[in-house]
Symmetry: C2
Subunit: 261 residues, 2 copies
């Protein structure tokens, strides 16, 4: 059975203008990989109604899960909730559960429950809440769309909650070897290995260390048995190449990149 699929939509002018570095993709990507959900694409888009609507409509039928971050706060530039409701043809209404949670949070933290705060309780009809343990105002789920805050620690808190409710696939395990030769040296043999194991994803990533060329050879699969076979073959291949080059101890790492959880 194929693993479930997902896409992330990062909503935020602050990323597109280069004002801040996105770190939400890495967090979500790692977690999905660990539980065997295939992250198929990411889109980073502006805080504009048309862009959000078009992107949600383009992606929601293509993937099992859509995760959005950003644009659900109290200010005028937070338009994700309304845009998603519009995309799905749902009305926006005061959600009593959300209002209750936000009112309690305001009392507890001595903050006014003003119009801006109340805005965060207006959510699409029929949505399910995602609790926010950090700043009160919840995220929400409509259809297969998980709408979360953009602030990383708030997003983490929301994502951790929904993680256990997602259909798990087979965890995708990666094993890699870092070898201190350029990737062109091993390219042909590595391609042959890929042909031998078409179901293993094989990637080659060049890097520099102490001004020397190195290559990360990464094998990934949800099939652990097949992965181990391919990895054993890769080890043999690396040793063959290194012995030819009269070089020793070039293999820097043979660690498992992701542990099974």
């Amino acid at each position: 059975m194929l693993n479930p699929t997902a896409a992330i939509i990062i909503i935020g002018n602050e990323i597109l203008s280069g004002r801040i570095q996105d770190i939400n993709v890495l967090y979500i990507a790692k977690k999905l990989t660990e539980i065997g959900i295939k992250l198929s694409e990411v889109r980073i888009i502006s805080d504009t109604q048309k862009m959000i609507i078009d992107t949600v409509l383009a992606l929601k039928s293509q993937y099992d899960y859509i995760f959005t971050t950003g644009g659900i706060g109290p200010t005028h530039d937070d338009i994700t909730t309304v845009a998603i409701a519009t995309a799905l043809n749902l009305s926006i209404e005061l959600n009593p559960l959300a209002e209750n949670v936000i009112r309690k949070f305001c009392v507890l933290h001595n903050q006014p429950f003003n119009q801006a705060v109340e805005k965060m309780a207006f959510l699409p009809h029929g949505c399910k809440l995602i609790d926010n343990n950090i700043s009160g105002a919840p995220g929400f789920i409509v259809e297969n769309i998980y709408v979360m805050a953009g602030v990383p620690n708030i997003m983490h808190s929301m994502f951790e909650q929904v993680l256990s409710t997602l259909k798990h696939g087979n965890p995708i395990i990666s094993k890699y070897i870092d070898i201190m030769i350029g990737e062109n040296i091993i390219a042909t043999d590595f391609a042959d290995l890929q042909n031998k194991y078409p179901d293993i994803e094989m990637g080659s990533y060049p890097f520099k260390k102490d001004d020397q060329c190195g290559t990360s050879l990464v094998l990934s699969s949800a099939n652990t048995l097949l992965l181990e076979q391919a990895y054993a073959d890769l080890l043999k291949l690396v040793h063959k190449i290194l012995s030819k080059r009269d070089s020793i101890s070039c293999v820097k790492s043979v660690d498992c990149h992701y542990e099974l959880t």
Copy 2:
């Protein structure tokens, strides 16, 4: 006149699997903002022919410039060049200029010019080369698509070269104030300011510092005169709110976020 627009396509399974943090978007986004090109969207996609073709075809007519990073190396998983040629219905052929550059680089660095290396000289018919000062093999330009390496320092070297050839717009300047109150306190007044200056992009971004809530209020525009007016109004607004709250020196920063270049 409107600023030119751009999209970035990050091609790389290593980002989607959570193996590495993308840092190419931030770099390109900053540079584009500085010279007045509006980065409208980013897509992070897998190293698969169909995905690359679909994404290139979806974006190339929507924006003035498309920048891609990743997938132009010597290994079997580097399929960007062929995918883009296929998307544009161009043949792939041995580019004599590229071959010459790569051969010279190999001689200089005592590397074999093997089949894997030669692969990087097979480029779409009619493309223009982007020099690679770091590792030899060039990127290329076809139509409005700028195809660059994924390794950050190689991408930087390529991007720096093309930057001066791009149509510049009016630089987009941002000015911001960091204020140590929650964004809900200032939300209504900030929305009023946005209504007064509909042509200034206004964003509100919450943060935490020493466990206290803070908000970055960011104004951006290519119209410096209008930006200064709106910023002066924002300063007044912030002082009004702070005086009400009987709080002093809450304004942490009034710096210009981007300098004019």
